[in-house]
Amino acid sequence: MATLSRSDVEHVAHLARLGLSDAELSVFEGQLNHILDQYAILAELATDHIAPTAQTIELENILREDVVRPSLPTSAVLANAPARDGDFFVVPAILDER
């Protein structure tokens, strides 16, 4: 199985949108490789002809009537927003003004 280099760890942290300190990256590099070592045992099993299991109980698609129902009021949805402006969440501008 693969081994994670320091730059792999940095890449994965970026994919996961985790801002990690140098110290964290160093600790995680060692720990994640130790954990990945545990995964090697799975290579012992021949699974080419085994179907994957994504869920364990047999449920058919369950549909409901497509009718409009009340949802939470805007004020309740926005109550936890760290920054809001009226009925909007505030985020940094993602487009430059030209």
């Binding site: 801002g19 954990i35 994957p52 936890n80 760290p82 985020v91 940094p92 993602i94």
Partner: protein, 521 residues
């Protein structure tokens, strides 16, 4: 009148109906115990005294009205009316804080009730507050809580297990007769074992997860803690069943038997006769403590003496469970936890543009274990590794489930096994070694991989600390499992260890006691 906190929920229910006690007295007694011990135990993140007393008064009003109406009105009242309950702090209660043990959700207030909160309200249960947990339910010791570890009332320098450690301690320490936990890889059963109480992980899909903070969606399930099987059954009965807001909740009928386990020991003991039980040899692992193995084998012998047959069986893919679980669960977690973006709710850290804010918010808001799992899961799902890790793990999951299915096809009623290979371990003992911590759940996580119900029940002590016996059943067999648990309680009703209270509980009431965090440091 005995100390109200020592009663089982079914005993409280009888006294409430006869009018000998009130729901307010019950709530006051439990709130006082929780408030008194919380410095030393840190089992609770929120104790909502005002709300609990309001709910208790409402319950008393319903009892009063039913009593004036007559006997049949009393009998129609729900089983949990006026009974105190604790909720793990990942269950939404409208208007209340819901941290999931994480800084990233500190101060977040749930805008709506979880399905199970609604059900408990309808049943008239009195919610005392919210309990401590490993952050986002990731952990086996409750040490990964952002709000400090929880101590085990049997030994204050030891962990209660996890991730639902606060809910387990609340029940073990008599702060509530009932509590709710969640179990993704053992997070109800393992702390139940380490705290000497009953903890049931129901079949996947048995209880709606609407309004529960998600960890790993193909594994997470909600279940009860209690101090006996009857109470656990009553709580599951109150919250189980189909809810259209959780598409994975099952329409499978909820058996009335959950709420009507036998009161009489003689009757309960007879249910063990002729039961065919399997004892999976792979669960008696290397590294298992001799005292744990001894208690579990004694429990098995007691079940045999009561008329059950026990055969050694094999679950040949057990050793692959840990690796499989630690691919599937982190992969699902990495997707579920993408929602914590610092924009819509929870912690926000500004550091420039949108990307910089994500990095800063998530870097500051998540603890080490959550970061490790997000990293593992992101890696396992990333380009080039999906087939080698996630798909491979899902295929091995099929094999693990197949091991169990083969035994049900052979006619076994249930499996008996240890819940945990060790008793409660010292605070800090596994904190710096993630793999050692992960191994805490080796005997419980295959059950989640297969979607099955499992219950841990106390079966004695080793070195003065509780040992759990795990009963595993086929899908939807919770009532049968609790029937076996009730039978085991009946045949061990006279055992010395049943009369013991957690050895360090009296020290928890000392107002000068160190906090668990101080003990760990």
């Amino acid at each position: 009148m005995p100390d109200l906190t020592r009663l089982h929920a079914h005993e409280m229910a009888a006294l409430l109906r006869s009018g000998e006690i009130s729901a307010r007295e019950l709530a006051e007694a439990h709130l006082a115990a929780a408030e008194r011990d919380n410095r030393a135990l840190n089992a609770w993140l929120t104790i909502d005294r005002a709300r609990a007393l309001e709910e208790a008064d409402a319950a008393d009003a319903r009892f009063e009205a039913a009593r004036s109406e007559g006997g049949s009105a009393l009998r129609r009242l729900p089983a949990l009316l006026g009974i105190p309950v604790a909720l793990k702090d990942l269950v939404s209660v409208a208007g209340g804080q819901c941290t999931a043990g994480s800084r990233i959700l500190e101060g977040y207030r749930a805008p709506y009730d979880a399905h199970i909160t609604e059900r408990l309200r309808e049943a008239g249960a009195v919610v005392l507050g919210k309990t401590n947990m490993d952050e986002f339910a990731m952990g086996s010791s409750t040490e990964h809580s952002a709000f400090g570890p929880t101590a085990n009332p049997w030994a204050l320098d030891r962990v209660p297990g996890g991730s639902s450690g606060g809910s387990a301690v609340a029940v073990a320490a008599f702060h509530a007769p009932l509590s709710i936990g969640t179990d993704t890889g053992g997070s109800i059963r393992q702390p139940a074992a380490l705290c000497g109480i009953v903890g049931l992980k129901p079949t996947y899909g048995r209880v709606s997860r609407y309004g529960i903070v998600a960890f790993a969606s193909s594994l997470d399930q909600i279940g009860p803690f209690a101090r006996d099987a009857r109470d656990a059954g009553a709580l599951l009965h109150a919250v189980a069943g189909r809810d259209e807001r959780d598409s994975t909740s099952s329409p499978e009928p909820v058996p009335a038997a959950l709420d009507t386990l036998p009161a009489s020991d003689d009757q309960a003991a007879t249910t063990l006769r002729g039961k065919r039980l399997g004892m999976p040899r792979e669960y008696f692992v290397a590294g298992m403590e001799p005292g744990v193995e001894a208690r579990v084998r004694e429990a098995v012998a007691a079940l045999e003496a009561a008329g059950a047959t026990v055969e050694e069986v094999s679950l040949p893919h057990t050793d692959y469970g840990l690796a499989t679980y630690y691919i599937v669960a982190p992969a699902e977690a990495s997707a579920n936890l993408a929602r914590y973006d610092g924009i819509r709710f929870g912690l926000q850290r500004r550091d420039g543009d949108v990307l910089a804010n994500y990095l800063a918010t998530r870097g500051a808001g998540f603890g080490d274990e959550v970061k490790r799992r997000i990293m593992l899961g992101t890696y396992a799902l990333s380009a080039g590794y999906y087939d080698a890790y996630y798909l491979k793990a899902q295929k091995v999951r099929t094999l693990i489930k197949g091991d169990f299915d083969a035994l049900w096809a052979q006619g076994f009623d249930a499996l008996v096994a240890p819940t945990s290979a060790t008793v409660a371990f010292p605070l800090g003992a596994r904190l710096d070694d993630p793999v050692a911590m992960y191994l805490s759940d080796a005997c419980t996580l295959p059950v989640n991989m297969a979607g099955l119900p499992g219950v841990s029940i106390p079966c004695g002590l080793s070195d003065g600390l509780p040992v759990g016996l795990q009963l595993i059943g086929a899908a939807w067999s919770e009532a049968e499992l609790l029937g076996l648990a009730r039978g085991y309680e009946a045949i061990t009703a006279g055992a010395d260890w049943r009369t013991l209270e957690p050895a360090d509980l009296h020290r928890a009431s000392d107002p000068a006691a160190p906090t668990p965090g101080a003990r760990a440091a």
